[in-house]
């Protein structure tokens, strides 16, 4: 009680907290970056719509969305991993490996396309969960080392399994998945929306979703509260693997073949999209809502620039620059440029959000 009366800061903090809404902590900071990117997205979209006649046409918007579908899946999966404070470098390789598996299921084993799609996704879940998941969650190896290893390993398996040859996978269903519309919207966009809604539900409305945030915030505290940290970690790498599997299916559908030469740099674009969407590298803050905006922003930028006839390398320069600017602005907003000022840091403990925003008095 004495705190409330003696601490004049309480009143101010109360106002801030009400503004922060009823969600998780750190959400205020997350929302800021999210809003910045949302505004950027709208601005870029409107800019291209006004300046490029060929941009805001239903054909081009469909192309914009469907070409982003693979990035979309990988970025959604990566969001869960990054929320736990981890990272998965191997998702691009796993995407390619899933595609090869899909080709083998259909052309060599003669499995019907529906079953082959389900098996490919299950394959991604298994490889992600039993490979990265078990090594990181159960054995306790560092995620960068493990996923760097599996990145290379899966890349090798792709070449071994495919004999470095692209195999045609003829299927009307797959062609429809990639290029047909249902109710006026491309089928792959329906898939994107469906997967996103499920991810949003899992993240926001299940105990598992809370576990993911708790593990990312402090794995020790989560474990002490009875959260099964190993299982949670295995699950997020399995989810990321499964969505890489989905991405693999979409990839096969789009090119009509299973190719060993896909998935190359998708993980870097995915990381950029997740970060733009407000999820932090240190875990515990962010979510798939922001990631959707991040992917749409990148896809719009790439599409718009190429419609404008700007060279590829300019797209890379612009999207890389924007990523750095947005993350820097976010950091300035939250607590000043911590690295520039001399500040005593405690070993191990501080996360960016622990150092109070500069407008707040430091706790005595």
């Amino acid at each position: 009680m004495s705190d409330a009366e003696t601490d004049p800061a309480i009143r101010r903090r109360r106002v801030e907290a009400v503004r922060a809404g009823t969600g998780r902590a750190g959400r205020a900071a997350f929302k800021l970056r999210f809003l910045a990117v949302l505004i950027l997205f709208v601005a870029v979209f409107v800019f291209f719509a006004l300046t490029q006649q060929r941009f805001f046409t239903s054909g081009n918007i469909d192309a914009l969305l469907t070409s982003g579908s693979i990035l979309w899946m990988v970025a959604l999966g990566l969001t869960f991993v990054m929320l736990t404070g981890g990272f998965d470098l191997s998702l691009g390789s796993l995407l390619a490996l899933s595609g090869i598996a899909m080709g083998v299921f259909m052309t060599q084993w003669g499995i019907p396309v529906g079953w082959a799609m389900a098996m490919t996704v299950a394959f991604g879940v298994l490889v992600g969960g039993l490979g990265n998941g078990v090594l990181i969650g159960k054995v306790g190896l560092p995620f960068l080392v493990v996923t760097l290893g599996t990145l290379t390993l899966y890349g090798g398996l792709v070449n071994l399994w495919s004999q470095e040859v692209t195999t045609q996978v003829p299927s009307a269903t797959l062609t429809a998945l990639a290029f047909n519309n249902a109710l006026g919207v491309p089928i792959s966009v329906w898939v994107m929306v469906g997967v996103w809604l499920v991810a949003l539900y899992v993240q926001r409305s299940t105990y598992f979703g809370r576990d993911v945030y708790a593990v990312g915030g402090s794995a020790d505290a989560a474990q002490l509260s009875g959260v099964r940290v190993s299982r949670t970690l295995i699950a997020v790498y399995a989810i990321a693997g499964g969505l890489a599997g989905v991405a693999g299916v979409l990839q096969v559908a789009r090119i009509g073949a299973s190719s060993p030469q896909v998935g190359g740099t998708v993980i870097f674009d995915a990381a950029a999209a997740v970060l733009l969407g407000g999820t932090s590298f240190s875990g515990g803050i962010g979510g798939v809502g922001g990631t959707a905006i991040g992917v749409l922003f990148l896809a719009t930028l790439q599409n718009g620039l190429s419609v404008s006839g700007v060279a590829d390398y300019w797209q890379q320069i612009v999207s890389g620059g924007i990523l750095i600017v947005v993350v820097t602005l976010d950091r300035v907003q939250r607590g000043g440029l911590a690295g520039v000022r001399i500040r005593r840091t405690r070993p191990g403990s501080p996360r960016p959000s622990e150092t109070a925003p500069s407008a707040n008095p430091p706790p005595d």
Partner: protein, 499 residues
Amino acid sequence: MTSAPTLHAAGIHKSYGGVRALRGVDLELKPGEIHGLLGENGSGKSTLLKILAGQLAPDRGRLMLEGSEVRFADASRAMAAGIATVTQETTLVRELSVAENIFLGPRKARRPWGIDWRRTRAEAVELLERLGLDIDPATAAGRLRPDQQQMVEIARALSIVARVVILDEPTSSLPDDQVASLFEAVRSLRAHGVAVVFVSHRMSEIFDLVDRVTILRDGLVVGGGAIAEFDRARLIHLMIGRELEELDIPERPARQTAGAGLRLRSFNVPGRVRDVDLAVEPGEIVGLAGLVGSGRSSLLDGIFGLERGASGIVEIDGRTARIRDPLSAIRAGLGYVPADRKTRGLVLDMSVQANLLMAQSCRRVRLRRPRRAAEERTVADAVRRFRIVSDSAAAPVARLSGGNQQKVVLAKWLATEPRMLLLDEPTRGVDVGAKAEIYRTLAAIKDSGVGVLVSSSETPELLLLCDRILVMYRGRIVAELSRADATESRIMHYGMGHE
């Protein structure tokens, strides 16, 4: 004490946004004095210390260092001017040697072709001797005891020819015997004419060590002077602006329920805890005393399933509990408030609500949807019952004061309806007012029939709370003292390993 002040802060004002943290504070530090700075959380104490150390600039007011006005652009300027800060969290680089740590930064003795290691080492030895410390400067800092690490920090402060040393709660994680050796070092600073600012939440330390005090409340100086003019009650009154009710926790009546509660038989944690047998009855508070490293924390970790290789029999309410991990411990009816609240007790980024519900929901199926209405009721009850002062249940728990954070941890466990609570340093880094509230909460927990096993470095706390006190030494329980028999000197005696 006729000399001019070493450091004089005059009329310091500081606001954050619209909040006025300091409203015209004066502080005079004389050479060769230990100056106690007292105040509750939110009194402006930390803000003042940061201004003295150059980490913050005042909005108004002046800093006079030995008679001339100074303005520090940042902390390194203040340090160069001879103002050093030592906080409870050490900033030593664990892998480097003591000598390297002392001269970390641009202060190493140099030669044109590099660092003069021999001179660096000789200077380190000299500094350590000045403080009367028996530490080998070649030891890696990470291998020192916590109190030795603090003292290396003080040596580092001295190495910059310190005129003012700010000690911000240096003792909060030290056990009694190490506090004594730290105090020796502080007194030798005083003997060298250094002005020392000392901050502690422990009243006994203030009376032991300091010469003068200044008391802050709501950003104003509300009292000060020679320590001899004050007594405990008056200091507390000035700090919190009212009387603190004395708390009397009734002793638990003789045991009625044989076999109930927690029982350990020949419990071992390899290398840490040896052959511990103990029993805690429902509604009983049992204390664990002993030096840091005596195995108290490992024992609690072990009971809660956090130590690999722990062996022995754990019975709860007469049934053997198979505890492999925290989850099975919670299922068996245990709750655990760890010493390190910020990384183990709470997820700081998450809301008060999420933290409160975290342990309670561990039994649910993970893909289920939480029942929001029931959860909000649980949270509202806990906030009311524990008087948690927070803007809203959705606020990040990081924004709460230490005392309120600790109440959240306690409430989190009580929401699981445990049979037995394990507590490690339950009032570490918590101010006087909040401490009393935590004690009151523990008394209520005891009343409700939950057993409590509490480990603490603060002996007075154990004497106040416990029905019985077990003293540990090198992993064993070496003495059991009833409330009537327990005294501070006895606990110290057994804790040091004497028969």
